[in-house]
Amino acid sequence: MNRNVLIAIAGLIAVVLALSIWSSRQDTEVASSDKYKVGFIYIGPPGDHGWNYQHDVGRKAVEEAYGDKVETVFQENVPESADAERVMSQMALAGTDMIFATSFGYMDPVINVAKKFPGVKFEHATGYKTADNVSTYSARFYEGRSVVGHVAGKMTRTNIVGYVASFPIPEVVRGINSAYLAAKKANPYVKFKIIWIFTWYDPAKEADAAKTLISQGADVVLQHVDSSAIMSVAEEKGVYAFGQASDMSAFGPNAHLTAIINGWAPYYVEKVKQGMEGTWKGNQQVFDGIGAGMVIIGDLNDNIPDSVKKEAMAIKDGIASGTLHPFTGPINKQDGSPWLKNGETADVGTLLGMNFYVEGIEGDIPK
């Protein structure tokens, strides 16, 4: 290689680095020591209008609540790998007091970094490993799925509800079961068509799956993937869909029936307060739903008849007050074997490890 080549490569690398530093928009201000410093790491961009966007809403709520007393930093697009350990270690070395790791795959990195920095408090979303300075939190999204499942069952004219699913993990299976049970109750003729696409975020693939379901007769599409592509497709094809994690009505003003919104803000504000006051504890596992405001049902579209709106609100209120549980027996498993007896509700352990469909859903969960 001659000199020109080296200069060219060095120049390109410099441009790339400059832009990536600029674009990552990481807050690089040096912390003044009297502020309580809180760090967040995101799996994708906060501009996804879904999962990461809502975590960032929570971060902003913390800033708003405590003003000059706190300082927040965040890093986006952090892979679920050794990179996560590196990013969290850097945050800890920079004097961060509390770190929110907002994706399941950060579980082991969190545990590893927490060992190295016992003075730093860690909050990990949707995981199950805790330590003296690590607590976890997750939301009962299945409660929201019960509400949208009811609306879907009432709104379908073809009696076919499409479902674009990501990975066959308990969280997603739980959502399918919860939505199906509610839809079936609302409309005994309803049928679910499920497509697994094995990714959380691939707008083109999500759009293809939605189009396929619509071509096979689905006129309501539910999703458990992160992008808003399905909402755009639904709007274009004149069918209905639901916002995932965040309000997505901007992408489909007519299609967007309602949304299951992740409400992390109150939790983040509370935990930061505990951290500042010294009352924060490790080894906690929080699993909250509609009642605690961690799962929020978005605005109901005016396309929904008033009677259905009322029913949906009644289900929401029932779940919030604890009088209604989305998994209340009698419920059989897909193979017909009994799961819950009449009036019995599902225990948290079964819910967290759910690996079976309930009776009536066709097809198999991929292995």
Binding site: M1, N2, N4, V5, I7, A8, I9, L12, I13, V15, V16, L19, S20, W22, S23, G44, P45, G47, D48, H49, G162, K193, I194, I195, W196, I197, F198, T199, Y201, D202, P203, A204, K205, A207, D208, A209, K211, T212, L213, S215, Q216, G217, S227, S228, A229, S232, V233, E235, E236, A250, F251, E362, G363, D364, P366, K367
Partner: protein
Amino acid sequence: MDLLEINFAVLVASLIVASTPLVLAALGELVVEKSGVLNLGVEGMMIIGAVSGFIVGVETGSAYIGMIAAAIAGALLSLLFAFIVLIMQANQVASGLALTIFGLGLAALMGHPYTGIKSPQIQTISIPFLSDLPIIGQMFFQHDLIVYLSLIAVFGVWYFLSRMRLGLVLRAVGEDHDVAHSLGYRVISIRFLAITFGGAMAGVGGGYLSLVRVPQWTEGMTAGAGWIALALVVFSGWRPGRLLIGAYIFGGITILQLNLQAIGVNINIAILSMAPYLATILALVLISSSGLHGTRGAPGCLGKSFVKTV
């Protein structure tokens, strides 16, 4: 399960839509590689095309102007690559990879204010008489302009490379740049043009993604399509016709496996997800090894820097 639940006319129509970004991007890369340059930056040029096309489409309200902007943006980015590898004679593999990383980052930055916006619609054009044919009409003759143009482009590239003098010169440059140079052909200029064409095609492919197929802008929305396009070029043996077949098989199996899942077919889904890649490789290897056309078609000087000797 009931196969009749699958609407095959819609299936074919949607496989064509799903394959079109691949056809466009891979066709551009084919010409680039035929001129002896390996540009691994297809993914980066596609995503720059996707974001630029979307921004211009939204601002002007016209998806067609957006498509033109996508082509220009892809071409501009490819010029950066051309400058680095042709003038500075940097390593093509490393520069191409850098181009992809750069493109992904730049696109995220440019697109930031444009998430959550609807793109302008692109009209489908029904071809008179043909589109009224039962089934066939819905499959092939009710698409948007870009789909028809992509098919014309496949024919055009084939005609250019195999029937036109300039195409022959381009292939000569790719086969042996020293000989081409000694014959008086301007190796660097020809490669510059080829790279620019490749960039424009990748840009249009990306624009098709954000303006038609999805249609919206989201970060990282190409999700590896550029790499599949690169693989298609190799497996097609650098032949435009096979490339089209390969892209349609890939798109077809992708859409078919979604359809099979939706009707509840009991096949291991890992295999279904793998199927598009396997089927495409298998089909193209079979065509190539059938010996109908002899050579495998890899240009002799692919990936080598050209240093003027005289």
